[in-house]
């Protein structure tokens, strides 16, 4: 897949099958470790799911891949480039070849749907306005919202906003798209539409997709490989079939939505009877 407007990887000799390679990655705020020794590979053309319970560091991992955070240890390589070592100019050049879909779309609320999708084209290219119009309408058509081009973001439903954000993130034909909780808060129809769209766009545009989610059933339908993160480490990984068949307690609890298990229902607290004063500690 050619990358329009911008060059390809830093060195053609370094091009490997793996677009994103993370090795021994650790990250923390002060003494609080969020991620500990993560190893992850996303091959070109794959849809990879990163799953785990809320607050386990999934979104932090996306920020590390996008260069918004620096790891305390380890390596993050995207298309052969070591992300933490890039200066701002090189990082911005890399980001032009990456798209990110935020949890609630993060559309610019003061401009229309059309202008949101045209944003990167206007910022990073000198294309004439008629060509930008055609490109924007094509991107919006790909997500089924060409008719909503003139609406403002406040007039869109949650699912529509995420589809517009998806159109915006593919505006420059990126090589990698990162999705932060794309299924959160969507009705069943929008859920299916969004899931299928991620798969279809990945295949049609030759992208690589990293999907951070805790929606197991929807993601297992569309992804090629799954990583489970818990307590900052990768607890399990495998294809959707391997994950479904897994007997690991954490994966089993997560996939089947069980209330109690390795992830406890109760936050650590003293004994209830002691707390209520009917027993002694």
């Amino acid at each position: 897949m050619p990358h329009l407007f911008l060059g390809g990887p830093a060195d053609p000799l370094l091009v490997s099958d793996a677009l994103v390679e993370i090795r021994d990655l650790s990250f923390g705020y002060g003494s609080r470790q969020i991620l500990k020794g993560i190893n992850l590979t996303a091959r070109r053309g794959q849809v990879i799911a990163i799953m785990g319970n809320s607050g386990c560091g999934k979104t932090t991992l996306l920020r590390l891949i996008g260069g918004a955070l620096r790891p305390t240890q380890g390596s993050v390589r995207v298309d052969g480039l070591e992300v933490p070592n890039l200066d701002q100019q090189a990082l911005f050049a890399l980001r032009r070849r990456m798209g990110m879909l935020f949890q609630f779309g993060a559309l610019f609320t003061d401009i229309s749907v059309f202008d949101n999708v045209a944003f990167q084209l206007r910022e990073h290219t000198d294309l004439p306005e008629p060509l930008i119009r055609d490109l924007v309408l094509m991107k919006l058509h790909a997500v089924g919202l060409r008719g909503a081009a003139d609406l403002m973001p406040s007039e869109l439903s949650g699912g529509m906003a995420r589809r517009v954000a998806l159109a915006r993130s593919i505006a420059l034909d990126p090589m990698l798209i990162m999705y932060d909780e794309p299924f959160a808060g969507l009705d069943p129809i929008s859920l299916g539409v969004t899931g299928n769209m991620i798969r279809r766009l990945t295949d049609a545009l030759g992208l690589t997709s990293l999907v951070v989610t805790h929606d197991v059933q929807e993601s297992l339908k569309i992804v090629d490989y799954v990583y489970f993160i818990s307590n900052g480490v990768i607890e399990a990984e495998g294809t959707p079939d391997e994950i479904r068949a897994s007997t690991l307690p954490f994966v089993h609890q997560f996939v089947h939505g069980e209330e109690d298990g390795p992830v406890p229902f109760h936050y650590p607290a003293p004994d209830l009877a002691v707390d209520l004063g009917v027993a002694r500690a």
Binding site: G66, A68, L91, F92, A93, R95, R96, M98, M100, F102, Q103, F104, A106, L107, F108, T109, D110, F119, Q120, E123, H124
Partner: protein, 270 residues
Amino acid sequence: MIWGWPVPERSLIPIRHLGHRVIESVWRLGVAARFFVLTLMRSGTCARRPHLVIREVFSTGVLSLIIILVSGLFVGMVLGLQGYDTLQTYGSEEALGILVALSLVRELGPVVAALLFASRAGSAITAEIGLMRATEQIEAMQMMAVDPIARVVAPRFWGGLISMPLLAALFSAMGIFGGYLVGVVLIGVDEGSFWSQMQAAVDFGDDILQGVIKSVVFGVAVTVIALFEGFDAPPTAEGVSRATTRTVVTSSLAILALDFVLTAIMFRGV
């Protein structure tokens, strides 16, 4: 123990707290100064794409027109009433035009317009940028390889800087008109004296230019405070609300303090 004397640990807590607040304030001041310098350094986009600045002149300047014009009119009318009352004691009510014009051009125009600008446009800038952060729009921009300082902050800075002197000038003009309405039309001060004495006494370099300098300085202060508070706001509803309040309070205090400093520097020879 302090100098060998035993001091209860609890009595040190307020002192530590005070020290912590002072260090935090100095730190924030440094970060704000760095933010201001970065904004200036990344203003090239505004020169290449002036429509970004024009848009901000509209939202900070044009949308503040109503409050500025109405306030200016009433301040001028009050000045006319109060001035006439005092001047007629000395039989010099013809000097009403001078009193109204000098009060407005030198002092009230820049200061009151800046205070109104801080509460109308400054708070709007802080809330807008704070909400952009809270809804991940700023982060999205960074992930799209677009520098938010160049794209969001710098156009608002220049928009505010251009709007502020124009608003102060309009405030003064409306104020003079208000003084005319009350003094000449309502009370009956001689119209010729009102205008000719004003024309003779108001100096372009001493009075008008110095008022313009004040309004430019206030414009920089208010806009930088509003932008910094918005950019630095915690991305929560409470964080944005506190930042908006801080913008109005800090800007108002900065305007009054800067007004004293500028007046002391500019009018020391008078």
